[in-house]
Symmetry: C2
Subunit: 343 residues, 2 copies
């Protein structure tokens, strides 16, 4: 299969071409750029949903149940799961996948042809993670998936970058098992469009929901918005009802028991409502611009890094720095002046 065949294959919903294209992009094979260039004009139609949460909260189960739900609603669902991919976690994550319904662990795919699953490793890929994931999302988008899930544990800047520019960001927690875990979620809470407290049959669920609600209510935008409301409306917001006020989205807080399917359909409704809201409010374009910006910068900086490696003898340069002969700022200036037009 050459590049043209792959591109045409994607456009005609050929599953082998799809898998091939992703392999090209993941491994940066010659031709991968051409594929991405060729499909770009067909992208932008899918609803990209970021799912993030700490290991153990039940992300995979929720994703699997949401996939079933959206399939019932007639959508084709693509999934990109970003795994930390350490030798220490590989087993456990595979275990997670094994528990997903409809997932054939031997073949690493879903039985339903309306679902496509791909796992990507974030290991050692600080720089290029968002770009690579973005590329895979684009291929799925061009192929015609209506819904694309991007699942990450949300640790690490690369992962946060990916998920925060999804059209809809779903942050999943579970009833709190200690402050530490909540703390570690900190950076993630701020990017949520929708909260899920899974395993709602465990003790402490009310406490976690209350805590989340107070977090939501503390955010500056929400405080401003609430001040414009009547008491009755404020109560409706505070009760956690999905509610759009003064053109501002207040993240709803869902409780689910994913392995029994409880709360999944309501969550799917929320996700669709958020997409609708984003389209109307202009938020969608804004986020897609951010996504394009992160991707563009990663591509440019990656190319620049390659140029530097090609043109300069790093070992020699670093030796001079470590031996205190030159400072890194002077070295950086020298490299840039040799690399770029006028500073």
């Amino acid at each position: 299969m050459n590049v043209d065949e792959i591109v045409n294959g994607i456009f005609s919903k050929n599953r082998r071409a799809l898998a091939r294209a992703i392999t090209y992009v993941e491994n940066e094979l010659p031709g991968s750029k051409e594929i991405l260039k060729a499909i770009h004009s067909r992208t932008g139609r899918a609803h990209v949903i970021g799912l993030t949460g700490f290991p153990g909260v039940g992300k995979s189960t929720i994703m699997s149940k949401l996939t079933e739900e959206f399939r019932k609603r007639g959508k084709m669902v693509g999934i990109v799961a970003v795994d930390p991919g350490s030798p220490f976690t590989g087993g456990a994550l595979l275990g997670d996948r094994l528990r997903m319904e409809g997932f054939d662990a031997n073949k690493q795919l879903w039985v339903d042809p309306g679902v496509f699953f791909r796992s990507m490793s974030s290991r050692g890929r600080a720089g290029g993670l968002a770009a690579k994931t973005g590329d895979v999302v684009k291929i799925l988008d061009a192929y015609g998936f209506d819904i694309i899930f991007v699942e990450t544990v949300g640790a690490g800047q690369g992962e946060v970058d990916i998920v925060k520019v999804a059209d809809t960001v779903v942050v999943i927690l579970m009833p709190e098992v200690g402050d530490d875990i909540q703390l570690s979620k900190a950076g993630i809470l701020e990017i949520a469009d929708i909260f899920v407290v899974n395993k709602a049959d465990l003790e402490g669920v009310e406490k976690t929901v209350r805590w989340l609600r107070s977090m939501v209510m503390m955010s500056e935008e929400v405080v401003q918005t609430l001040s414009t409301l009547t008491h009755a409306d404020e109560a409706r917001v505070l009760s956690g009802e999905i509610f759009k006020v003064s053109n501002h989205w207040v993240p709803p807080i869902h409780t689910t028991i994913a392995d029994r399917g409880v709360g999944i359909s309501e969550l799917a409704d929320s996700i669709e409502k958020h997409y609708e809201y984003q389209r109307k409010s202009g938020g969608l374009l804004k986020r897609r611009s951010s996504r394009a910006k992160i991707e563009l910068e990663e591509i440019i900086l990656g190319e620049i890094k390659n140029l530097i490696k090609k043109k300069f003898n790093y070992t020699e340069i670093l030796k001079e720095i470590v031996e205190n002969k030159k400072d890194p700022y002077t070295v950086a200036e020298e490299i840039i002046s040799k690399l770029c037009y006028e500073r």
Copy 2:
């Protein structure tokens, strides 16, 4: 205080000049580059120790006790604490600091003048975190601190970058409270020179130590090394004794009860032994080269980003991408060809 006064102040151990220099560097004030250039030749003398571990394991307590211990051994100790710095965690981390002995929370400094503490926020600083932290370390180094601790929670690539290029990396855990937490440490385990299981009075400490030991023993280098040993020597390694075999460092596993000071002096011994080993084995130069490389690349890429922002109209460019008029790869090529000499 102008730049010259600050630089001379650092060289003559003037505390105000030190604090000033750090403020310059942190806020990228005009003159900060000049300061860093001027002090570069005086750096490289301090032992940089990375301390990392999940929130709640007792990092701050261990750091505080190690600081006391190294002070007793006649060393001057500088501390750079990298905080996630989210509005959600600020309070909790301050709480941690409050519990450190010898720390004056009101003045945010240690009472002992042989100790200097500085907290840095990693918030929203994916790109420049390692460079900035490296700069602060250099200032402390040039000032004359013998030991410099860099403390991070080890989440996020920026933080991992910082800590993995410390001369000695200490990874702190506690008796396991669930697989999740151990899992989340995954990326961190591989960079440890020394392991600490703190809160060793809690249940499950043996299990955690055993688990860590099996992790250490599974690493490829160690497996190779062990195969060259007699059974008696192998037993000594497996028993967790600090042990250098075939010129390879096998990370020792310490247990501590930091708030009672148990195990701290042994940990300090290990840290000193590792430094000694690194100096003799050439590992020190290697890591400092890696540190210089990460710093250099961050400086260069930061400058390139600024150049791009100055020369191109991002809003327009991103609009074209999002509206499918141009793909990001083509745009990146255009930008680079306008920015750099020959591709």
